[in-house]
Every structure is written in structure tokens, then in C-alpha cells.
């Protein structure tokens, strides 16, 4: 899976928000963080709109087939 998972995107956003809340952050950095934050929010939203849940059927011995649900 090349795309980032929701959790990875979400952690990245939390880091951005935490750094932005640092009172010592300078304006150049804040502008960059702001852009990153908005980009991550857009990616998270797109993820929640478009990603799908996948179901793999396993047996007690081995995996057989997989299909998409929803």
C-alpha cells in the first residue's frame, strides 16, 4: 500500500497542529505548517469519502479469497 493510511495522515496532522501551537514558532515556519495542515486535512477528508473496507475470508488453515465490501 503506497498511499498513506488514515492513521499516518492523522498523526502527521497532529504533529503539525502541535508545532503550530508552540508560541515560539516563527512566521515562515507557521505559513509552511499551515499549508501542510490544510493539505493533510484535505487528504483525510478524501480518504474518508473514497476509501473502502476490504474483507478477506480466512479459514482455520489458510487464506482463500478476498473481496471488497461496500
Amino acid at each position: 500500500m503506497a498511499e498513506k493510511s488514515y492513521r499516518q495522515l492523522s498523526e502527521a496532522l497532529e504533529k503539525v497542529l502541535a508545532e503550530l501551537q508552540d508560541p515560539d514558532v516563527d512566521i515562515d515556519r507557521a505559513l509552511k505548517l499551515y499549508e501542510q495542515g490544510q493539505k493533510l486535512i484535505a487528504e483525510l477528508g478524501a480518504y474518508l469519502e473514497s476509501a473502502e473496507n476490504k474483507v478477506n475470508k480466512l479459514t482455520a488453515s489458510s487464506s482463500t479469497k478476498s473481496k471488497k465490501s461496500s
Binding site: 507557521a30 505559513l31 480518504y47 473496507n53 476490504k54 474483507v55 475470508k57 480466512l58
Partner: protein, 376 residues
């Protein structure tokens, strides 16, 4: 005279056992438990009885569904056998409490035992990742539980991989299959982040597998955190008590595992707005700071200029003090002779015509007499 068949005792035992094995390879006998005892922590001896008969049983503790006590109603699967030395008994294959009273009693005994072992301790409970990316689902594909769980999961969240193992959730095979599924998920190279073991509601009999010692211990032993959801109204199954988290129904399990993505999308847009507001505030702050610096700068420059002006005024006063005009005003005069400023009486002689300058006039005068200071 026909010769009757005569057999030895051992031959009789073997013959009878062959007949019994042929007639009853496996039979389920229901009755009330009596004279239950465990020998050397390994062997089981008990009787099943009803109003008119009593039959002996023999087995091992591994076949126990949990602790038992006399008076319980059981269904015991076994094979009748005549032991060469100890006589008739049924060799136990499996034991199942039946009837609501016995099931509850068996569950209560097992619960007390597992509580004493600490299997249900709060300290054992592990948090579940929220939301998970990888779920192991153990339920029956035929029951509503599977579709209910997946429906709510699909509504609420996206991008989850669900590994599903189809098991019987009631009946004789349920216990073994559920335990195997839990063990199999734990043995995967990439085990799921949470195991969901679920079924819908049913009678006490239907739900019995979820209160067996085997399933309860398998749930407690799972390295993968567990969520057990058994639909029911009153009693909680022991597997639920052993789980890291329990839910009331399969749908509720899906709800506990995931946030509602519509709500999260709303939150994301709020964060986006807060980010924008935050940035604006930061810019405004910076502007205010610039303004403060600007004002401070003005003040310093102003003060510097001010002190320069003060110094200038002082210099002017000093300069003023040396202004000869001021001396003339005070009554001083100068004497020149042929345009040369006279500093000494020796530079003049009687009869010389001199120019005298006063504050407001110039005089021409002739020297009449010269008296030197020393001559006085």
C-alpha cells in the same frame, strides 16, 4: 442336545464391547449429575440419573466445560463400555450443561473459578486502537451478526481490512471452532489489531459456547486485544468478561470500534477553519509586534534628537557668553589706533588720535595724557 456357546470372562467382555461399539459408537445421554468427583486432578467419575435409573460415567478433566456440581442437568456424549475390572461405564467424549438453571449454575461456578484466577481483572484490559486498520472477525457468515457488523462498519468508517473466519457460534462444534479461530488469528504473521468475536442474541442454550471455560480462556489468552459482543438482554457471557472490551450487539461492536466518519469530516473542516483563524491571529500578532517596535524606535530616535537639541541650546548659551557684544552691553569699550586694537598704554603717546568703540557709538578722541598702572 445342542451345545451352548461357552466363553471365558475376558472373551465375554471383548464380545460385549464389540457389540456395544457397533450399536452405540457414540450416544448422547441426558440426566442429572450425581456423585461427581475428580481424582488426582485428572480423572472424572460421576453418575447421570433420572427418577428410575442411574448410569456410571468415566472421563478426563479435559472434557469438562467448566466446574460442575451435583444436581445439574447435563447432556453427555460418550461410548458405553464394559471395563474388564471395574465394570460398566460410559466413556465420556463431551459434556454440556443443559436447561437454563444448569447453564447458569455452571456459568456461576466457572465464573467464580476464573474470577479467583484474575482472568477478568480490570488491570488485564488493554486499550483498543481507535479506529483500527485491521480487524479479525470471528462469527458465523449465516447469522445476521456478520451483515450487521459489516453494515455499520461500512457506514461509519473506511479503509479497514477485515479478516473474517466463519465459525459456528452455537451447537457442538462452536467451542472448538471459536477457540481455533482465536488461536489462528494469534498465529498470523501479521495479526489483526483487534479480534471481534460476535453473535446475535439467543436462548441461554444458544449462547452457551461463549460461557465455556475453553472459549473464555482462549479470549483471555489472546495476544491480539479482543472485543466480544454477544447479543443478549441480561446476563453477560464469561467470554465478554474476559475480553478487553465488550459490546452489547454486533452493530454496537462496530460502533465502539470506529468514529462516525461524517462527524470526523465535520471536525476536520472545523480544524481547517481554526488553522486559518490561528494563522490570521499569528499574522495580526506579528503586525502588532512590528508596530510596537516601530513606536519604540520612534521614541528612541525622538529622545536622541531631543538631547541633541538640548546640547545645541547649551552651546548657544556658552557661545553667547563669549559674544563681545555682550561685553559692550555691560559697559566695556575698545580703543583702536590706526585700526590696531590697543592693549597697552605703551602703544600710545599723548596727542594720538584714537577710535573708541562703545555699545551704541564710535568716538574719535585725542590722547591727552597717559598714566601707566605702575606710575600711579
Amino acid at each position: 442336545m445342542s451345545a451352548e456357546l461357552v466363553v471365558s470372562v475376558s472373551e465375554f467382555v471383548a464380545l460385549l464391547n464389540q457389540t456395544l461399539e457397533f450399536a452405540y459408537p457414540s450416544i448422547i445421554i441426558a440426566g442429572e449429575l450425581a456423585n461427581f468427583r475428580v481424582s488426582k486432578n485428572k480423572w472424572l467419575y460421576f453418575d447421570l440419573k433420572d427418577d428410575f435409573a442411574s448410569v456410571k460415567f468415566f472421563g478426563t478433566v479435559y472434557q469438562l466445560p467448566g466446574p460442575l456440581e451435583d444436581g445439574m442437568l447435563l447432556e453427555v456424549r460418550g461410548q458405553p463400555q464394559l471395563h474388564p475390572l471395574y465394570g460398566f461405564s460410559v466413556n465420556v467424549q463431551s459434556i454440556r450443561p443443559v436447561g437454563e438453571g444448569s447453564i447458569k449454575r455452571a456459568a456461576a461456578l466457572l465464573e467464580a473459578k476464573l474470577v479467583a484466577e484474575g482472568l477478568f481483572d480490570e488491570a488485564r484490559k488493554r486499550p483498543l486502537l481507535y479506529p483500527p486498520e485491521h480487524i479479525g472477525l470471528i462469527t458465523s457468515s449465516e447469522a445476521a451478526a456478520y451483515s450487521d457488523f459489516m453494515k455499520i462498519l461500512d457506514e461509519r468508517w473506511r479503509g479497514i481490512t477485515v479478516d473474517f473466519m466463519n465459525v459456528q457460534v452455537q451447537g457442538e462444534l462452536a467451542v472448538t471452532q471459536i477457540v481455533q479461530a482465536i488461536e489462528r488469528f494469534n498465529a498470523l504473521a501479521e495479526p489483526p489489531e483487534v479480534l471481534v468475536i460476535t453473535r446475535g442474541g439467543g436462548s441461554a442454550d444458544d449462547l452457551a459456547a461463549f460461557s465455556t471455560e475453553q472459549v473464555t480462556r482462549a479470549v483471555a489468552a489472546s495476544r491480539v486485544p479482543t472485543l466480544v459482543a454477544v447479543g443478549h438482554e441480561r446476563d453477560v457471557s464469561l467470554a465478554e468478561l474476559a475480553a478487553d472490551r465488550r459490546a452489547s450487539t454486533p452493530s454496537n461492536a462496530a460502533e465502539l470500534l470506529t468514529p462516525d466518519r461524517r462527524h470526523v469530516i465535520d471536525q476536520l473542516s472545523q480544524i481547517s477553519q481554526q488553522l486559518a483563524t490561528g494563522l490570521n491571529d499569528l499574522l495580526a500578532d506579528n503586525q502588532r509586534q512590528l508596530q510596537v517596535i516601530d513606536e519604540a524606535f520612534d521614541e528612541i530616535i525622538g529622545r536622541t534628537l531631543h538631547s541633541a537639541q538640548d546640547r545645541l541650546k547649551l552651546n548657544q548659551q556658552v557661545l553667547e557668553a563669549f559674544n563681545p557684544e555682550a561685553a559692550f552691553k555691560r559697559g566695556w569699550a575698545t580703543v583702536r589706533h590706526h585700526n590696531t586694537l590697543i592693549r597697552s598704554g605703551q602703544s600710545l603717546a599723548a596727542g594720538d588720535i584714537v577710535d573708541i568703540r562703545l555699545y551704541d557709538a564710535s568716538l574719535k578722541a585725542q590722547i591727552d595724557n597717559i598714566i601707566m598702572k605702575d606710575d600711579r
